[in-house]
């Protein structure tokens, strides 16, 4: 991950700029980091599986098959801890990639799915299901109450994006600045709606809402992971296909158009990607702020702004950051849980500041 990787080509063309690793080195290092962090995350947890039993509990090394403790450890690992680590990695990848896409689309380093109301719309829908499921409006839906919340969150994110897109599009053209401004307004409306629901909620619902809004990966199951994984993989694949177009967009919309990019189609694809990826993440773990803004920024400082490398690198680093944050979330106050949103900000923000301070001469006045 260091910028000091030797690369003759970069050295010769970027005098006075930080040395940048090649794409293969950067992605390789990030993948190794994610792997090491995930293995570390596997070894700790509230159920306290000692290291000498871990191999057998995983089913890798041979163990006494009749041992009841081992059977329990095996279950804890395979149906609680591993799906949760996988979900954390998926959520981190989704949020960081969506953030990178959004910043590329808006040519604005501050753009973030939570800023333009996509996450807020999802959160509003989730909070609405928490409150209304107990009222008489919710009676008809109670048969699917366990599935309702993630579905609601996903649908809320998508619906918000569609509304935003409708506002920002006129005669086949989408105004990016209108999208951003309308997004701020939609976020404010969604937050007002959340406030109203908080007002009518009872004690138990209030606690649920508070913890939902702070985000948590508790309750992650294989079914949630398998639902999110295709969104992540297809999302990143499509994102890679439009990476060149996003690079051209940095120069400006008309420049990109003259460079041969179908700008309107690019915008549509990017918006759909952002909302699907954010919606999938919000439906698993609630609102986890800061990942989408911090990870792409860090990476731009380290590996440059080219989207073909930035997007997959964001996925890997985002996954690593959320796995670290979630490992802390589930262990530092065990047997209780710390909301993960607190930790992503607490870990990410100081790290981000340090990088900014070290490189502020490079960013310019």
């Amino acid at each position: 991950m260091t910028a000091a990787t030797s690369d003759a080509r970069a050295q010769s063309t970027t005098i006075g700029r930080p040395l940048r690793p090649t794409a293969a080195t950067a992605l390789g290092v990030l993948a190794v980091v994610l792997g090491v962090i995930s293995i570390f995350a596997l070894t700790i947890g509230a159920a306290g599986i000692p290291l000498n039993r871990l191999g057998a509990a995983l089913g890798i090394t041979a163990g006494d098959a009749t041992n009841a403790l081992l059977a329990r450890d095996h279950l804890v690992l395979w149906s609680i801890r591993i799906p949760r680590i996988a979900a954390a990695a998926a959520v981190g990848g989704l949020l960081a990639t969506a953030g990178a896409l959004m910043q590329g689309l808006f040519r604005n380093p501050l753009a973030d799915p939570s800023l333009v109301g996509v996450a807020s719309g999802g959160a509003f829908a989730a909070v609405a299901t928490i409150v209304l499921i107990d009222s008489r409006f919710g009676e008809g839906l109670r048969f699917m109450q366990t599935e309702l919340l993630p579905l609601g969150a996903f649908a809320g994110s998508l619906a918000t994006t569609l509304v935003l897109y409708g506002i920002a599009s006129r005669s086949g053209k989408t105004s990016v600045s209108l999208f951003l401004l309308a997004g701020l307004a939609i976020a404010a409306i969604a937050n007002a709606g959340i406030g109203l629901l908080v007002f009518v909620a009872d004690d138990r619902q209030l606690r649920d809402i508070t913890f939902w809004l702070l985000g948590s990966l508790s309750g992650a199951t294989w079914s949630k992971v398998t639902a999110a994984l295709p969104v992540l993989l297809i999302g990143v694949a499509v994102a890679l296909a439009i990476a060149r177009g996003l690079d051209m967009m940095i120069l400006g919309e008309s420049e990109a158009f003259h460079g041969g990019v179908n700008v309107e189609r690019l915008k549509r694809i990017t918006i759909v990607l952002i909302s699907a990826m954010t919606g999938a993440a919000v439906s698993i773990c609630g609102v986890v702020s800061f990942v989408g803004i911090i990870v792409p920024h860090l990476l731009r400082l380290m590996i440059g702004p080219g989207h073909r490398l930035l997007l997959p690198a964001s996925m890997l680093l985002g996954a690593a950051l959320v796995v670290v944050a979630d490992t802390l979330a589930r262990t530092i106050v065990a047997p209780a849980e710390m909301p993960i949103g607190i930790l992503t900000a607490a870990i990410g923000a100081p790290f981000f500041l340090v990088i900014l301070l070290r490189q502020r001469t490079l960013i310019g006045p």
């Binding site: 947890g45 109670r142 004690d203 138990r204 606690r207 199951t221």
Partner: protein, 323 residues
């Protein structure tokens, strides 16, 4: 804040004696002034002039007023007051006890506000205080003595110390019966109180909660003793805590809540899913810490230890102390 720690089961009759003593003390002090003066949970001496139009905020307070035969004096209740339903059907509702609006309360022209400690928000309480309507905040303590104290302070506020003493005696008897029942339990079961299960996340009760205390009163052990209050719990910690039973509050008529618990990956590894031991009870009955709490704890105890059912008489759910 809470000097009334649950007393040990060996001190039989202590609670009854203490309750009678409290009632007598309060009765003695009231004769000094012309009207009734009550020292409430804030430590403020409240003078009661006319206890004829009462707004009752808190399910336990409403139940106590009912047991004292004062249904007619209640001009408004809050949403946590759900028992007895037949009496409360026609009473105006001022909203949830922590989200009160001052106009809603004052619009009922109460001459007395009886509110549970913890009623809010603070701004509303400030307005109600400034409005000069006598307001008594009843202390909320999740203990046997706490229930008796609530009855005594409500009774004294209304100048009905004798009726209150009758009620505390009956409730004290029930709690005494419950103590005998607990003494017969050889091996306490481990109960986990799950407040909610949201998208697979369980929120469970730790120490210093009404749930913790009702579990203790029912002769069981709270499976979680490492934290205070209601918090989201780690899935692995659910497995490590080894609960025998999951207790929750009823929501609607469906049984989906039980199935959601049995299907949850962590609960699926515990005796809860193996033995299908999910129990749901009415929220106010279970956690209200009012006159029916002994009965709720007994109901819970009998569901936890079915063989105790024959051995013990039922606790009273209706108290006839309105004369």
């Amino acid at each position: 804040m809470n000097p009334d720690k649950p007393s040990s089961p060996h001190r039989r009759g202590f609670l009854c004696a203490a309750a009678t003593f409290t009632a007598l003390l309060l009765a003695g002090s009231s004769t000094r002034a012309a009207g009734i003066v009550v020292r409430d949970a804030r430590g403020i001496d409240v003078a009661i002039a006319d206890p004829s139009r009462i707004v009752a905020i808190g399910g336990a307070i409403t139940e106590i007023l009912h047991d004292l035969g004062l249904d007619d004096r209640i001009v408004g209740v809050d949403t946590t007051s759900t028992f007895p339903a037949s009496v409360l059907r026609d009473k105006p509702n001022v909203g949830y006890m922590r989200q009160l609006s001052p106009e809603g309360v004052l619009g009922l022209h109460p001459s007395l506000i009886l509110a549970m400690q913890g009623a809010g928000p603070r701004e509303t309480m400030d307005v109600l205080e400034a409005a000069k309507v006598p307001m008594v905040l009843v202390p909320e303590t999740f203990s046997e003595q706490g229930i008796l104290d609530k009855i005594a302070i409500v009774g004294h506020t209304l100048g009905l110390d004798a009726r209150a003493a009758c009620l505390t005696r009956k409730v004290g008897d029930d709690l005494e019966q419950l103590r005998k029942l607990r003494a017969a339990i050889a091996k306490p079961v481990r109960v986990m109180f799950v407040m909610s299960l949201l998208n697979g996340r369980a929120m469970t009760a730790g120490k210093n909660t009404a749930a913790n205390e009702i579990i203790r009163l029912a002769g069981a052990v709270n499976a979680i003793d490492q934290y205070d209050g209601y918090k989201p719990i780690n899935d692995e910690a659910i497995v490590a805590a080894q609960p025998d039973v999951v207790l929750s509050i009823e929501r609607g008529k469906d049984t989906l809540q039980a199935n959601a618990i049995y299907a949850h990956p962590a609960f699926a590894m515990t005796a809860v899913a193996r033995n299908k031991t999910f129990i749901a009870m009415d929220g106010l009955y279970l956690l209200g810490f009012g006159p029916r709490t002994a009965s709720a704890a007994r109901d819970l105890a009998i569901r936890l230890y079915p063989n105790l059912a024959a051995a013990t008489p039922a606790a009273s759910t209706h108290f006839d102390c309105d004369k």
